[in-house]
Symmetry: C2
Subunit: 343 residues, 2 copies
Amino acid sequence: MSTHVVIMAGGVGSRFWPLSTPQFPKQFIDILGCGRSLIQLTVDRFQGLCPMSNFWVVTNENYVGTVHEQLPDIPEGHILAEPAARNTAPCIAWACRMIKEEDAQANIVVTPSDAVVMNTQEFQRVIKESLDFTASRQCIVTIGIKPNRPETGYGYVCMKGCDTDGVAPVLEFKEKPDLETAQEYLKAGNYLWNAGIFVWNVKTVLGALECYKPVLSEQIDTMVRTGNVKEIFPTCEKISIDFAVMEPASHDSLVYTHPADFGWSDLGNWSSLHEKLAHDAQGNGSVGNVSFYECDNCVVHASGLKRVVLQGLDGYIVSEKDGQLLVCRRSEEQRIREFSSAK
Amino acid sequence: MSTHVVIMAGGVGSRFWPLSTPQFPKQFIDILGCGRSLIQLTVDRFQGLCPMSNFWVVTNENYVGTVHEQLPDIPEGHILAEPAARNTAPCIAWACRMIKEEDAQANIVVTPSDAVVMNTQEFQRVIKESLDFTASRQCIVTIGIKPNRPETGYGYVCMKGCDTDGVAPVLEFKEKPDLETAQEYLKAGNYLWNAGIFVWNVKTVLGALECYKPVLSEQIDTMVRTGNVKEIFPTCEKISIDFAVMEPASHDSLVYTHPADFGWSDLGNWSSLHEKLAHDAQGNGSVGNVSFYECDNCVVHASGLKRVVLQGLDGYIVSEKDGQLLVCRRSEEQRIREFSSAK
């Protein structure tokens, strides 16, 4: 039984504009200033778990060239080009159905391409344990991140019991909570963040799709047999794997979680990037050649500029890429999409 | 008697960093975003007063190429390359001594290269009247800008009487005053800003130099006769034309002023640039493709960027050139030199 890794890289996020753009989204950016893009870091953290020939990337057809450039060792036939964005269920169904062609016994990890993990060693330990678990069982393991704050920006996994050491059954999935609920979750101890990292064997995932989404399952099967991606994929139901499979499977007691604490962040916004960057004594985090004078709690990404001098800014985002510059208050970051479409 | 124009372009100002740098100082920048650099605008405003073959530029040897690029119609032999910065007296002495070789009767205007004039028609009227005045008289006319505020950043010319319509005798020159003194000057009505624009005929200026600065006069004469600029120019006294000639000449009643009101600014700092730019309703002035959200009284020069979005900035300077970016409070602009040398 071989291990395969499926990287979902279809995101077109605009929350980091102008750093990320629809032409060059977050997963392809060296957002931490470490010399590797998020998708490269994603591949890096799986090194040793399986050979490069077992990696798969599902992405929009516009990004195939970028994926190939950034990850030249992934076989070209393993870069699956979506002609349209259909959310995660069709994406995962396609990749897993393709994997079945290569290894009908494969054990699979599915992961987003735009999150960061600080402790790779612990990450590998958790993934290996989860793979061991699914190798011999007809079940789904979702990695559950132990929360350290009442975060309202993530979905939660509610597990049975509070033993966070190994794999445990999932009772149910919870959508993004309000603050009060998030505080209760944190206190309760058996609620984990849903990181969107799933471990299962190929039979389990294809069986679950056939059971809970028979039409989609049939479409993907036909698509892979005929090779007619262009026409069939865009007609697939636009639905997340959480709604399509995880929720119904959890009601059937098929879902488990591996609680984990490996410094995960989805880097979903500037605050989470700020948190991951090294700070000066005034709480300024930056990527690029940046000098701060009388600045506090700023987060700056300007690696495309030779030199940046900032003075007198308290709590600002400064972001530059390819000749586009944004300076805005961190409190206004939810308006970045609005700013990005300014005339 | 022909008219010659001498443009002093040796400035290495760093007050507009990173817009201006020692490699590319202010006079060569399109700081107003009008498509012409300050030195080009300086030449433009003299058009019609004399042929291009009567223009002279004195600049540091490092800038000769830039001058030639920006002002291709000025004869190459009229671009005088200073091997070292010696302030304005040696610069003017050299240019005027060169002009004497071409026309021993020449009438001369000397001007800085980095100021702006909004009303060119009025500027030409004032210059013509001053040239008429010096054509037949052994005297110096300095253009005196009628002040509209108690400015402490300029030197002043004190004229005899308050008739600001035509040429009037200068009693004395005053250095940059404190605010109280500047307020008195404004009230008195016979104090004008010294714009550093001088009109005189070649005999007057060379005679005055011989009289007040005989060593410098002799050095420049030898330099022009032998062509040995490299060795002689750097040994000349480093002194301004104000100290070398204007002050002593004013004591000898040789200096006159033409009061003027043609929208002059020396663009000596960001505030004076802000004043000259068009503003939006919130007082933001910009050069470049800039969108403002909740910004007030900002001054932005970022014509090298494709697009700039600023949010929540009150009273800031934003300046970009060649991959260097500065964001600082307008109140801190006197520290820009410090910022520019940040590691």
